[in-house]
Symmetry: C2
Subunit: 488 residues, 2 copies
């Protein structure tokens, strides 16, 4: 594996700064050899300046580029998966799946571009005889907003990273992209940046449409402040996301930020479903909660049921399943420490825990306690679940009213639960971006109908999604063309 | 005319506060009799709290309500026009036209709702046999974002006010509305609020969907901070708009703000068009510049041409036309003072003026001077125009590169100008929300294709419009419904 540790600036490699860092093997803590150079403000501004003057890509070039990137990523073969595995501790089968998703979404944007995605035109025809004045023809088209900064996420080294959904949707929209690589997987990021460089060369488009910089939070802030930047896409914590929102609002020219900032993704167990299939629900919940060591934005951190023998059985079954889970290491020591701090909060407000030994954590509180402690409704990023026990259907609906904005809400129901579900539905729809029936929220489909983003604090703008083809609309703005002469 | 001067809170009238103000006759400065009560924080929070729990309106109720509001406004007859005329000094024919536009856009939203506006659904069908896991059906629908605050504009007492485009689009989306009435036309606002109350009663929908409060900037800030508010729509100055953006970002739950903040709307005169029809262009420009005493967001404050005898002729013709204009009074003393301060700035950087006597102001500067002084590129709200004289086509393109975000840009051209226009077009499209060919930017069509909003500082979010049917999308957010059982 031959890594340069440099920044990828508009077609070149660059290492002008004095500051550097090393990647760490997530499973062992071993410091890996390559020295990664943090980008300097000059390099970052160079990247955005060059992006702003890059030659715009036509539609077919965009589609061809997205496909070429997918091919070049696949051509990296096991080298990419091995490096991602070392940097993230995520198992190879998961990373293989994530690579499939990454290349799949690049190709989905290519196919969708060829079918008209993001090219919708609305025309009000001319009315030359209208009184008192004629109406000119007005044609509303969509144009790229300009250079987009993409902040890679810690938990998806491929699918929400250098060539992830944000980059794919921004390139599809015709916007140049400057990626801030996540410092937890700089080597994986470099390999993917090289793949993008190769794809750009193959398709023969302007190399200034893509850059990737290494660094920490200050690097990100410098990027967010770059005068030529026109939008930001981010996936990560509430704190880091809101820092970017503030930075963007304090620019001389404020720019839109789409920050997907996580969620506790409540799951409601309606009583008839619970009585009929508690065992299967327990297995499904435990699997969803521990998948990827619980390191998903859509991790179902809270589950709500009504006190009953079936709920007791469910609790026991979940606890047993969780005790038997063989957890992989977390993505980093810092993420593990944050998780442990979150567990301390749960212990203080909801403890004692029901689980023991496996590293998965599971707690049970009354609805009254849950309502009382805001800390119980904050994301604890990792494999920790909280069961909220209600005394009645009314109390379950009251609990539903408590939630702030969420990426997802899940309702487990049977036909006999329909009346309660009909009362729960408007409350659930009111706080979430996705409503899942009889499933679990992990496993976000990449399609045309997906909404990944929800009311604050799940995301900074509930009107957009960061997953699926509709994510392109974050980076397009309408222009009305009035009375354009035919000779143009 | 029987005005109560009260606030309209969720179906009731209310005057709990101690602070009040009087409307002023714009033409004479006379203080009008009714005492208008500024809303207290308690009244404002009551309005938003009640809005948040109002029964949602079905589509047909929304359409019927919008139509009923139009009818009730028309039923106010001359009383409304007379009051608006006294409060704004705008001539009756203009106000008659503005009432037509106001009722027209209410009805356009009703018709469009019945044709599916804002109800777009995207479905990814279930794939039960997909490997390795089945795909559930996912259906993406749009839901109302929640209570919307609408800030009435000074310059359109009807069309951008209590029942203007923002209110029409918000009600069409299914969102409750709380209007902050503009203090320059509180009586007009009360009449329209009464019309809305009557329409709500006639259609029989929940009265909590509409409130209107009186007050000053602090009233607006209190409204913007109301916990139950979910979005803000504003038309006015850069300063007031950005204050609302900051307030909304500092809320515990930040909310989206669409602020349309004005523009200088450059007009480019390409040389062949100028040579062929300079006289007509001068007449058109002078008319557009002085329409409504120049008090339009789309007022063409800057016009750019290439030095030539034709440009000299054009300058002379515009000056003569402007000297002959009989200006109506401005909307208020404060707006007049601001205009005069803006003219002082122009005199300092671009003076001396070419016009004399009529109150219209016209200046001419070199491109070099224009590039040097940022003050020349700031909006001067009123009938003041600045001609920028370039030495060459290249310099005209350089001037085009200088502009910050604009609501509109206009290109006057003939077929022989096509080459230059093709070079200008991408620059113009890059900074504006609407590109007008061979017309003038005033007279914003209300249709499906209109874009009124542009890159900052023209508006706070270039991805949305505040005029036309697409304005509804500011207030809708997508929700993905996954695997919903048929029995629900």
């Amino acid at each position: 594996m031959n890594l340069s540790g440099q920044n990828f600036i508009a077609g070149n490699e660059s290492a002008l700064g004095q500051n550097s860092f090393h990647a760490v093997a997530a499973a062992t803590g071993e410091i890996l050899p390559t020295e990664f150079h943090m980008a300097t403000p000059a390099e970052i501004h160079d990247a955005t300046e060059q992006a702003a003057v890059a030659r715009p890509l036509g539609l077919e070039d965009r589609a061809a580029l997205l496909e070429a990137i997918a091919e070049e990523i696949e051509a990296l073969g096991d080298e990419l998966l091995d490096r991602a595995h070392i940097e993230s501790a995520l198992p190879l089968p998961r990373l293989t799946g994530e690579r499939g998703r990454t290349c799949g979404q690049l190709r989905l944007f290519a196919t969708s571009l060829r079918s008209g995605l993001g090219q919708e035109v609305i025309t009000d025809a001319a009315l030359p005889d209208r009184q008192p004045v004629p109406r000119p023809e007005i044609r509303r088209v969509l144009v790229p907003i300009g250079p987009v900064a993409v902040f890679g996420a810690s938990n998806f080294p491929l699918a929400f990273s250098v060539a992830g959904g944000d980059t794919a949707s921004a390139l599809a929209s015709g916007c140049p992209v400057i990626v801030k690589a996540h410092p937890l997987h700089p080597g994986t990021s470099e390999l993917v940046a090289r793949a993008i460089y190769r794809a750009i060369a193959r398709v023969g488009v302007d190399a200034r449409i893509f850059s990737m910089v290494h660094g920490a939070a200050e690097t990100g802030a410098t990027l967010a402040e770059s005068p030529d930047l026109r939008a930001i896409a981010f996936t990560g914590s509430l704190k880091a996301g809101m820092a970017l929102v503030k930075t963007s609002q304090n620019r001389p020219t404020p720019i839109p930020v789409f920050a997907e900032m996580g969620s506790i993704n409540p799951v409601f167990l309606l009583p008839n479903a619970l009585a009929a299939r508690g065992e299967a629900l327990a297995a499904g919940y435990a699997e969803s909660l521990t998948m990827g060591v619980g390191q998903f934005c859509t991790n179902p951190g809270v589950i709500i049921g009504i006190a009953s023998p079936a709920l007791d059985e469910f609790t026991k079954a979940v606890t047993m399943k969780l005790n038997a889970v063989n957890l992989a290491p977390m993505l980093s020591g810092a993420i593990k420490s944050n998780f442990e701090a979150g567990v301390e909060t749960l212990l203080a407000s909801a403890g004692p825990e029901l689980t023991s030994g496996s590293g998965c954590r599971f707690f049970r509180v009354t609805a009254t306690e849950f309502a009382k402690h805001h800390a119980l409704r904050e994301e604890c990023f990792g494999p920790a679940g909280l069961l909220v026990e209600c005394q009645s259907e009314e109390e379950l609906l009251e609990v539903a009213e408590i939630f702030e904005g969420q990426l997802t809400v899940t309702i487990q129901l049977d036909a006999a639960d329909a009346d309660l579900a009909r009362r729960l539905r408007p409350i659930a729809t009111g706080f979430a971006g996705r409503v899942v029936y009889n499933g679990f929220p992990t496993g976000v489909e990449v399609g045309h109908a997906m909404q990944h983003g929800g009311p604050f604090p799940a995301s900074s703008d509930s009107r957009f999604t960061s997953v699926g083809t509709q994510a392109i609309y974050r980076f397009l703005r309408p222009v009305a063309i009035q009375n354009e002469p035919s000779y143009l």
